[in-house]
Symmetry: C3
Subunit: 668 residues, 3 copies
């Protein structure tokens, strides 16, 4: 990939004739599209019958695009196996936990672990890499499409066998598994690995937590292996970097999945009212593959939709704000699904840039606004790179798994973490969502909420940062489960953590409905969720419970460790006062930790800080359509126009953006 | 059938002994019942063991009724095959899209396409026609009972095979099907017809629109063929006319089903609050078999009910209003389900005229009121016939299919069309719901809303009417899909329609939530549903969008064609203002088209116009129990009492009715 | 069992090592625990491989407990068969009505009727009784665990065969079944018992009422037989009494189940807001085995919970109120689930006395309060016994079955009967919930609401009580169905009852939404539910319908019979006025019947009357945490402190209790 900001679309040359190709490419050029993603659903075109493989149509398309200076991200087509793979072979199909065996007629219907499917996938992917991998137009690869977006774990016979093998590899002997999972509860004790069920819906009550969690991790590991098999085959024939169009909403461990891929990419269709879910993606995926810009591989040019969908059109101007925010926060590409509306299938109603009858669609004007912005921003952004945040928040898809196994009152990891994120956003604190395995260098305030299993590795890494001066906020909902999704028996949150934090957890219980309130840093709020009640040992109580059955005990403590602090937050303060308290806590410890990357930007507007040689940029973008403002601390310049900007309040119009350049010398 | 108004009941002689028969018939005579429907669940009585067939019990019952001057509608019993057909033969049973194979213990459990079931059905029906078809008491036939009321499409092995055959007959080659359905999307491309799945629930996302729609049409066609097989056998042995007790709620294409039947009949259990759903039936079914009066074959005498039902009792007096409205709007019969409450099964709680212990039930008094009205109305109504409306609205069960495949925000054809119908009702415009295939002669205002696929035939027929002076209002939701349920690629609504209407559709999108409002004919309202935005070419913009992303474009246009106009309505105006706008539009174009059949009847009251030789009748009925009124334009007479009625406002008491006779000479 | 009040816990020695045993027992002693229940999930420990049976671990545990003066209730482990029974044998598993075959991984997954399961159950139970049945520590047995709490009827092949056999035994010939069930409706007529389906979900509409009800009764009978098989085996080797931890919420006929067991026990996890559901249990289970104290075998020490549960913590102090109320109302034991939180499985979040890490949990303080109360109350309560109430209300799990088959508007027997019970509670009338088969001696006011099938036996028994002076209130919803769940054909509620009650039921219908109100004893209220409208024959109308379609008819009648009265209540008065009317009716007839056991206790507080030799106790307990009061009619003493209590108003603090001793001589 070259030094560009990409503006891209998904394109389906296999669905339209050559005449439409020509029209499409001419129109793309007018629109400013410089990259096309294609091939992810084209298996039946590449291989209409078993072993009758032909990529000539795609070679032609890639070369035609290239001739018009449009790059290609080439996808492997394994999300939609042809009918000759699926027909008459239920044993090759994905099976749901309720026993339903998927059939042809949609996508993701095959079991990605079935040997025949794996064999055919390997064959078509390698053939594709051979045929297309060195075409000059191809600048990157995408493996498959939205792994596990429609389906989660597979319950077919193949997977059952692999599950047993995986367990045997993990535990060695059945006895060790029985101990680890505590299977003596309810006489579930297994004699052999073959006896271990998958967590289907065919049980009178619930499966055990260990089994349910492990089965999800197993599934996530195997889909990552499938991805790696493809990546290895591509690399044999193509030098281009490889990604996958993922999402935190899918049933994936993205940290595991992207481990051996080259750059991060994701799809997002967050609606305008849900725009913080759009932003959190930027602050997360920037850190999934830290050395590379990420790609917004799919987003709608105006609205989503399917036969049964309930799409909502973006307000005028919001698309541009999305694109500018993404580019500023580290995106290398901003791509739409899709260029030309599908005339058939089940996604006809989905928004596109051109309609099925070839005319600019409702969002077209907004796409042109994106392109205007992209052109203006490109030189400025390519000369700079996003600043690492000083505030890091642990993001873990394994935490998502634990909460899916044990949701209590319908808790969802995604909404919990987004709510937490929003407090940082509203405080104007620049922030990174940080995968569990990532390096913590540079984080002054590091928070680990909603992580039921807190590994020894992560603890040690965080404590090392604390030793050097960072503040680490642990909880709520963090540490109360072991790696096997059981309860620790040495201490509520594990003795290792409690000793480090200088607390004893007295007990844990669901605070909702118990009338519990707490006060910390001058704010009183109801406490919620399954909570840990602390008695400080070597720590100091910062937040005390002032009503409810644990009155007088602590829910917030701190203990100095090295040059920093470990802060334990046992409960989630709730309601508006709870949000105030959480913000107060975050701000308080950000201050103590020496966090400086903060602006007073008004809510609904963001500031993305970037750094160049000897200067910083602030890219301010109004996301809520209400306009916004931020105080510019010093006289500086508009990086786009060169005009002077005086220190003081700078206002942005609805969905407007400004790029402010501050010379570092002047910063002191 | 003779020249009578029928007042009827469902009766089950097989469930009760001869002593009860005598009591029942004596009581029917007292009540004024003159027709009985029976036999629809009696297969196990007719043929308790395979080939042991005996109709003597029914011959006796028919003759006994006839001896008391009570006619019989004889039903074929194919809705409830005996246990010797179903037991041990899952392959003969109906299968649901989730794979569940129906068993014995209810009704509609057999696959109506299974060869053995068809064979046994043919045998019992022909035997029944032979045994009973020429009895003097039998005046009509009903085939089966409420086809496809509990089940929709069958997913059994037999049906799978027939589906493939049907597709092959429709498309000829698999290649043509692949093109027609656009199966290249998601690599769904089929190599043979045998590979084509049925749209079961066993797919990760959705089946394609074409497959989903075609499978419904296939199912509807085959049930019509089953009905026709029965009709042919009956006609071999009986001269009496044939019908089916249908409903727009069932999974049927009623236009197709009634094509070869002799008269229209339907069941309705609309509750009082839902009374417009009762009225729309009268205005629809009158036009399904236009030359014959229709039958209300089943309705409750007071309340419905089943083991799990939530029946609501009609208010006192409403039953009479229902019956008078039906007779006045073209019904030849008004029949109850059922005469005597069932003592067993799963419908014991269902309202009946007599209780299981033989006493008049709660609704009995209201049934007597119906009989009083019927007796009074009979001579007056038999001398007249319903006037054809000047306003026609397209009704299509195929439209229902398209919207079931593609419901967007849970759209239902029935509630959309009922809402549209209510505007005409409130305007006092007399109206016909018109099947797609019907003749359009006589309609001055013809509206075609909610018809995703608008056929060339219907277009040409409507344009022919326009040429002669009619106004045709097209939309909303009309024309955006092809016959194969794909998107047109020449123009949003197809170039054929757009050129006739003189518009170019710029784009289509979901307007809900987009803040769009439009103004037409002086009224401003929010616009809703998936909408088409027009740029007039040779048409004139009548309604403009004044807020939202399409500001300044048109949603309502008109173009003079011949002596009439084609009006395009791209969007459904919403809310109370939307209803006002829609009424304004309908009234405006009714005026332009020269519609005269309108009264100023107050909302909640209806006027059914009829014509005799040299005079007209207005049958006014208060339906909402609030009383109502209408202006009588000239001095005239009460057709029932002969009393003079002066021109001016005529008032009706709650649930009251009047029959007003106006001499035509005086009309001028 | 000795003369003690028990305070107990569930304990799982198989889950923890010997060191933890020692800690647990030491802590139990400190806490005041004097009985442990164990073994109910330990099959895989007793018999890890087929026929490798070893109870030594449990012998050790029982003896260790005994050495510390802690008694044991020993459970049979049949709720959780080991994997060697379930693995690879789907035919042994419980099958759901939707066809799903349960697998290993939870509990209640085996079919309790499968021959192999029965054989293995018999073997392990007998071995257990032999090994443990005469240990001095074992004071009682519990069979299995919460029969049919997660599953209802089984639809496996074994059960299908047993169903046919059961039907043949019940009906003798298929002809008799066809008549009894009225199978001629919908041609369901059966030729052989083998053809009769189970009421699976695989029917297009509903199964017949008779089949649905009988299948539930069949299932309930067979689980009782399974229980009796175990009881017989235990009795061969152990002299101790036998029970089961049941609930009215389970799919059981408890009257049938406990018929051959020795004492009553149940589990309850009613939340604080639902506390009347806690109390109704006490007033019911006291009467299930009338000669013996009942056991609260499981309740939470503070909150329930499971992986997906939404537990709510009891307010501080409520646990003590629960325990005191139970002891006072006849409980011999108050036991918690569970002692030590489970570290694995799917109930980790469930509240326990000690946490998984061995510390007192949130509810611990409340458990100590219970123990304080227990110690104080023990001598006082052991010298007295609960007074039989003078007011009895029929409780029937068969009624529950009938309403499950025919729920109309989602009616549930449990909420209906609880609502009825609450009126008695609020009136301060002491009351018994009385199983259908119980003796009615001593009841002055006897009410039979919500019993669709009223047997001849119960009628005769009630009439005999009436002859001697009692008042019997019949209805609402009582008597309208036959034993076979069909409708009577001689009279709406059967001629036998109607003649005794001196009424003719005109008709029955759903009154909800019909605008019906009635007036009785000076109160006017809306009438609701499926109601019977009466015309008095020899009875006198007490309540008349004053609005709605049955205006002027009766809904409440009375007829003197012998020295008492039969009162018919045809409808449930609804809303707040309805509650007032129902209370007025109950109070009115309690007065007429000479009921004296009533106090003016304030709502939210209860009085449990007990009798000693020559005196009575009132145990007053405040249940709602608001405090309460009751008028003490005479000078008396506090039974716990000996202090004098003056006649007049006695106040209780929130969750407080008092034991008032009144000498009988003084009562007169």
């Amino acid at each position: 990939m070259g030094r560009k900001l990409y503006h891209g679309v998904s394109w389906y040359p296999e669905l339209w004739g050559r005449e439409i190709w020509e029209q499409d490419i001419a129109m793309m050029k007018k629109t400013g599209i410089n990259v096309v993603r294609m091939g992810e659903f084209a298996w039946s075109v590449f291989e209409p019958e078993e072993d009758k493989i032909d990529f000539s149509l795609y070679i032609e398309a890639v070369n035609l695009l290239h001739a018009h200076d449009i790059d290609t991200v080439m996808c492997t087509p394994t999300a939609t196996p042809p009918v000759w793979i699926s027909h008459g072979h239920p044993e090759r199909m994905h099976q749901e936990p309720d026993g339903r065996v998927m059939g042809h007629g949609s996508r993701q219907h095959a079991c990605t672990n079935h040997p025949y499917f794996r064999e055919r996938s390997a064959k078509i992917v390698e053939a594709q890499a051979q045929a297309l991998g060195r075409l000059p137009g191809v600048i990157a690869w995408q493996i498959d499409n939205e792994f596990k977006s429609h389906v989660a774990e597979c319950f077919c016979g193949t997977c059952r066998g692999l599950w047993h093998t995986w367990l045997e590899q993990r535990y060695g002997t059945i006895g060790r598994l029985n101990v680890a999972w505590g299977t003596a509860v309810w006489s579930q004790t297994y004699q052999t690995f073959e006896q271990i069920p998958q967590p289907s819906t065919a049980v009178p009550f619930f499966h055990s937590s260990s089994l349910t969690t492990m089965h999800q991790l197993f599934s996530m590991e195997l889909i990552a292996e499938f991805s790696e098999m493809q990546a290895d085959l591509i690399r044999k024939h193509s030098p281009q970097p490889i990604t996958h169009n993922s999402s935190v909403a899918f049933h994936l461990d993205n940290e595991r999945l992207f481990g051996k891929l080259d750059f991060a990419a994701y799809d997002t269709y967050a609606s305008f009212p849900n725009r913080n879910a759009y932003l959190i993606n930027c602050d997360l995926w920037r850190n999934v593959k830290k050395d590379r810009g990420f790609w917004v591989m799919e987003t709608s040019p105006g609205h989503g939709g399917s036969l049964r969908g309930q799409p909502q059109l973006h307000p005028d101007g919001y698309l541009k704000a999305e694109a500018v925010a993404a580019y500023a926060l580290g995106a290398e590409a901003f791509c739409y699904w899709l260029w030309r509306q599908q005339r058939s299938g089940c996604e006809q109603p989905h928004g596109a840039i051109l309609s099925a009858w070839g005319k600019p669609s409702i969002g077209y004007r907004n796409v042109l606004e994106v392109e205007d912005a992209r052109r203006i921003l490109e030189p400025v952004l390519l000369d700079t790179r996003p600043l690492q945040a000083e505030v890091g928040v642990t993001y873990s898809d394994r935490a998502k798994v634990f909460l899916r196994t044990e949701p209590h009152r319908n808790l969802q990891h995604r909404s919990l973490i987004t709510h937490y994120y929003e407090q940082l956003l509203d405080l104007g604190l620049h922030r990174d969502l940080v995968p569990e395995g990532a390096d913590l260098d540079g984080y002054r305030l590091y928070a680990t909420p909603f992580l039921p299993y807190l590994s020894r590795e992560l603890t040690d890494k965080a404590v090392a940062a604390v030793e050097k001066g960072a503040v680490w906020i642990v909880g709520p909902l963090t540490g109360g489960r072991t790696q096997e999704h059981t309860i620790p028996t040495d201490a509520a949150l594990g003795r290792y953590l409690e000793e480090l934090a200088g607390v004893e957890t007295l007990y844990t219980y669901p605070m909702d409905g118990s009338g519990t309130t707490g006060t910390a840093l001058g704010i009183t709020a109801p406490l919620s969720l399954w909570s840990a009640v602390f008695r400080p040992v070597s720590a100091k109580a910062i937040g005390l419970i002032d009503q409810g059955p644990s009155q007088g005990e602590a829910f917030l403590t701190e203990r100095p460790v090295g040059r920093g602090k470990i802060v334990m937050l046992g409960s989630l303060p709730a309601g508006e006062e709870g949000e105030s308290m959480l913000r107060r806590i975050l701000l308080h410890y950000a201050g103590q930790a020496g966090v400086t990357l903060r602006t007073d930007v008004s809510p609904g507007t963001i500031v993305a800080p970037r750094e160049g040689v000897g200067y910083r940029l602030w890219v301010a973008v109004n996301m809520d359509g209400q306009g916004g403002s931020v105080t510019v601390p010093q006289d500086c310049r508009d990086a786009l126009t060169g005009e002077a900007i005086a220190a003081g309040r700078l206002f942005l119009p609805p969905f407007g953006y400004r790029v402010i350049r501050m010379e570092l010398a002047a910063e002191s």
